[in-house]
């Protein structure tokens, strides 16, 4: 079946089965491989994207349910890739293998949008759905705090 979806501000049409998860549409059909497969059951958060600005698990989102919602992936989070989180991740050298980091950043971006200055507990709570197998949690926490600082000096998070 043909589905037309709005991904990173562009209208894209794909011919796939209705139950195809958004994750595999992005990865196999739209060549947006920044969104990762980790578990397929919504437990690891590696596939986190934004649907109308809210974090969602692309592995549990059938293409037939996307409709006109705006899909944002890591590739479309910020055009020049200079979102405060992307800056702080580089500044604090957060990644190790890097596989989970797109999902971490997408979840953190949604957190900062709703809560520009989260406490440690609020960060832990918001990020608890995202696994990092390299266990970079220590730096992810610091990266979110640093991004909040960067955003506030620029006059608000993107």
């Amino acid at each position: 079946m043909n589905y037309t979806v709005n991904v990173n501000g562009q209208s894209r049409t794909v011919d796939v089965a209705p139950d195809t998860p958004l994750l595999w549409v992005l990865r196999d059909h739209l060549d947006l491989v920044g969104t990762k497969y980790g578990c397929g059951i919504g437990q690891c958060g590696a596939c986190t994207v934004h649907l109308n600005g809210s974090p969602a698990r692309a592995c549990l989102t059938p293409i037939s349910s996307v409709g006109r919602m705006a899909v944002t992936t890591i590739e479309g989070l910020d055009a020049p890739a200079s979102h405060p989180l992307q800056q702080s991740w580089c500044e604090l050298d957060v990644p190790q293998c890097g596989y989970c980091q797109a999902g971490q950043i997408m979840t953190a971006a949604a957190l900062l949008k709703s809560n520009p200055h989260p406490s440690d507990d609020e960060i832990d709570g918001a990020m608890s759905g995202n696994l990092c197998r390299c266990a970079t949690y220590f730096r992810i926490r610091a990266g979110i705090k640093r991004a909040a600082e960067i955003a506030s000096t620029k006059g608000g998070a993107k």
Binding site: V16, A17, D19, T20, P21, W24, R27, D28, H29, D31, L32, V33, G34, K36, Y37, G38, C39, G40, I41, Q43, A46, T73, I74, E75, L77, A81, L85, Q86, W89, C90, E91, D93, V94, P95, Q96, C97, G98, Y99, C100, Q101, A102, I105, D120, I123, D124, M127, S128, G129, N130, L131, C132, R133, C134, A135, T136, Y137, F138, R139, I140, R141
Partner: protein
């Protein structure tokens, strides 16, 4: 670019500088010295017209931009950044001018594996020489041009400087002249005095971070090429079982499916290609969906009734019967009899999985008698070997690209997924990407073995450790005769038993040490408390006053007790060891020597009366020799190792029933998440005069006992098993 092959050895001088003619690169270069096998190879780097390529690892362009080749697999350990830093340091490059490029598998680069925390120690001198050779040639070129002695020149920030006159020339201006010079013998080139290092020891961000944070870094699972098809491979729950029959004809007719077939081959044993059913289709989702319709009858096997419960009974029986004595010092029985206090305790831990977040995958294209492979792998040599064997091709006909890996942890030292992809690609004839489901990954790992330890120890009236008896019942390798605390207890006996099993096992981050440290340091803590001694004081006394304790026999491993005392003393001071804490809070010590690193860690925890555990703070003191290469990367490895060690110890557990793993995905297999990771981690590097060694593993083993011992100090509850969550920590 169409690059002609050169097969005959060529004169070193003539080809150091690339020239371009009609867009074709005519020259190649050969690599220097102990990295060389006397072969001429195609540098992987995109060759720049007029560039100076003093060896296979460095290209300097006329505009001064430098490309450094990273030859070892990047698995999250930061090696793609740290090894090029060593080259850049010796060269005197400005790091901002450096671009790092990954190498394909090619013997010109020497050893290209990543495992055992060996990349840093094994590459330290070779990478220094690679940089120093180029520096020597650039200095020689400048000295010749300026007619000054080379000894008066040095390199810094991408330029050669003449100390007396202050004259300076950027590298880009010197490369033509440098290329005319003979390549010096890299074994005799002068290396920098480490006191003059300006890049090493600094915090440098990972070279691929900008790609990672924008979703552009390509892992194995992200590979795509024209005409590529997608595959899944279904194996038996019982490890290695053959296919008796499968409804492949029905599966072939499903939407989006191109082919389905049985592979009843075993190549490389249980950790290689094992039998299964391949399904090939138009997308990952179509092949994953088709699995639901697949019906397979698998052959039964001799291990079809194996279970963790059965293993536990077998271990207890083995403990009663006694094991093979692998070491016996003094008279343990007499020492235990005369001890003032004797402690007896059993420890055990289950099988666990590596769970790389990027599931195993591999892309292969077979083109007649040649093949191309793209794989996220720690051991590309093994990958090429199994591909060659499965395809029946000579290894030299296989081009092997090492992709970025979404985690290693030892899992990707195996190459089973390459064997599977090769077997599938051979049949389909077009490029094919095999992607494992998470369920495949958890149920077909090469597991960290479970184990059982039966211990008895004795202390004398003065509180000194006098006797240690240990029986290790395992599934794979056992404690070795030189494993700690052998050589530090006068009366010591090690017995070992190995249980028959059919479970594929493999190295899991700090193999052996990752579980032994928990058992040994926890039991030492039990003995310290029995002796009425402070654990730091007790353990320092166990280590004694010898410095280098020699290994036993020709294959024995020396143990540097002075280095271990150094890190224990440092961590005690830095953590505030001995400070008064309220009930429910406690500190614990863990220390272990592994992968050439001496590491001690102190955990500070809170245990509530209801039994919940919070790890408040971890302090680590680390001796990995004279030089930290990349301070940011080193700290990242230590932070990650500490949290990963807690991750493995606290919740992870696989059950075995009917010879198969029960758990299938993360809803049944708990991984540590951010709220359980410590809020404070302090790292202290203790520099000693020993050559630098690796940090991918050795900071992991000490953390589990540090936490368990802290729990005891906080609550009086002794943890004697992984996962910690199985122990009731309630106290009153």
């Amino acid at each position: 670019m169409n690059v002609p092959e050169i097969t005959a050895p060529i004169d070193r001088r003539a080809f150091l500088k690339f020239s371009a003619l009609g867009g074709l690169v005519l020259g190649y270069y050969l690599k220097a010295g102990n990295l060389a096998h006397g072969e001429v190879a195609k540098p992987s780097t995109k060759l720049v017209d007029g560039a100076f390529v003093p060896n296979a690892f460095i290209q300097i362009a006329p505009n001064g931009k430098i490309t450094i080749i990273a030859a070892r697999p990047e698995i999250g350990q930061g090696i793609k950044t740290s090894l090029p830093m060593i080259v850049a340091e010796e060269l005197g490059a400005d790091w901002r001018d450096v671009t790092v490029e990954s190498a394909p598998l090619n013997s010109i680069y020497g050893q290209q594996g990543a495992g055992g925390s060996t990349s840093t120690p094994n590459s330290w001198m070779p990478m220094r020489r690679v940089g120093a050779t180029a520096r020597t040639m650039l200095i020689e070129a400048a000295a010749e041009a300026w007619k000054v002695p080379a000894s008066e020149c040095y390199t810094e920030n991408g330029a050669v400087h003449h100390r007396p006159s202050g004259r300076t020339a950027p590298f880009g201006e010197l490369i033509n002249r440098a290329a005319e010079l003979p390549v010096p013998d890299e074994k005799s080139v002068a290396l920098k005095d480490p006191k003059e290092f300006s890049l090493l020891g600094k915090r440098i961000g990972g070279v691929d971070n900008p790609q990672v944070v924008s979703g552009k870094a390509l892992f194995g699972i992200d590979q795509k090429m024209p005409g590529m098809v997608y595959a899944t491979y279904v194996k038996a729950p019982l490890f290695g079982a053959k296919v008796v029959e499968a409804n492949v004809d029905q599966v072939k007719g499903l939407p989006g499916i191109r082919d389905a077939f049985v592979v009843n081959k075993t190549v490389g044993g249980l950790t290689g290609l094992v039998p299964g059913v391949a399904i090939v289709g138009d997308s990952t989702w179509s092949v994953f969906c088709a699995r639901r319709q697949l019906k397979v009858t698998w052959q039964d096997g001799e291990h079809g009734s194996d279970s963790w419960a059965k293993f536990t009974q077998q271990a207890d029986a083995a403990a009663k019967a006694g094991g093979k004595v692998d070491r016996s010092d003094g008279d343990v029985d007499a020492a235990l009899k005369s001890a003032a206090k004797v402690i007896e305790a059993n420890y055990h831990y289950p099988f666990i999985s590596h769970t790389n977040l990027e599931p195993q995958n591999c892309t292969v294209h077979v083109k007649g008698d040649h093949a191309e492979v793209w794989a996220p792998i720690q051991n590309p040599g093994a990958g090429r070997r199994i591909a060659a064997e499965v395809l029946g091709l000579p290894e030299e006909n296989i081009a092997f690209t090492i992709t970025r890996s979404g985690g290693g942890f030892g899992r990707r030292l195996s190459a089973d997924f390459v064997g599977e992809a090769a077997a599938i690609a051979q049949k389909v004839g077009v490029p094919v990407k095999l992607t494992w489901m998470r369920e495949d990954d958890l149920q077909h790992d090469h597991y960290r073995p479970g184990g059982f330890h039966y211990l008895k120890g004795g202390v004398d009236a003065a509180g000194k450790l006098t006797a240690w008896q240990s029986h290790h019942v395992s599934f794979g390798s056992n404690l070795g005769p030189d494993d700690f605390p052998a050589r530090f207890v006068p009366n010591y006996r090690l017995e070992n038993t190995k249980l028959a099993n059919g479970i594929p096992m493999g190295p899991w981050r700090a193999p052996g040490s990752c579980t032994y440290a928990f058992v040994i340091c926890s039991f030492l803590d039990e003995l310290a408390h029995a002796a009425g001694k402070d654990p730091v004081e007790f353990n320092l006394a166990v280590l004694g006053d010898r410095d280098l304790v020699p290994g036993t026999g020709p294959r024995g491993r020396p143990y540097n007790a002075a280095r271990m005392r150094g890190v224990i003393e440092k961590v005690a001071a830095a953590s505030g060891w001995g400070k008064k804490l309220p009930p429910g809070k406690g500190m614990g010590l863990g220390y272990y020597f592994s992968h050439q690193g001496y590491i001690a860690e102190v955990a500070e925890v809170t245990v509530s009366k209801e039994g919940s555990l919070i790890i408040d703070r971890v302090t680590a003191a680390i001796d990995v020799g004279s030089q930290i290469v990349n301070l940011s990367g080193a700290e990242n490895q230590v932070q990650g190792s500490i949290i990963d060690g807690i991750n493995a110890a606290w919740h992870q557990e696989l059950d075995i029933r009917n010879g198969a793993v029960v758990q299938s995905n993360f809803h049944e297999y708990q991984m540590l998440r951010m709220p359980d990771s410590p809020r404070q981690i302090e790292i202290h590097f203790v520099k000693t005069d020993y050559p630098p060694t690796g940090l991918g593993e050795p900071a992991l083993p000490p953390i589990a006992p540090a936490v368990a011992n802290a729990v005891f100090a906080a609550s009086g509850k002794r943890i004697r098993q992984f996962p910690f969550a199985q122990t009731d920590l309630r106290w009153s």
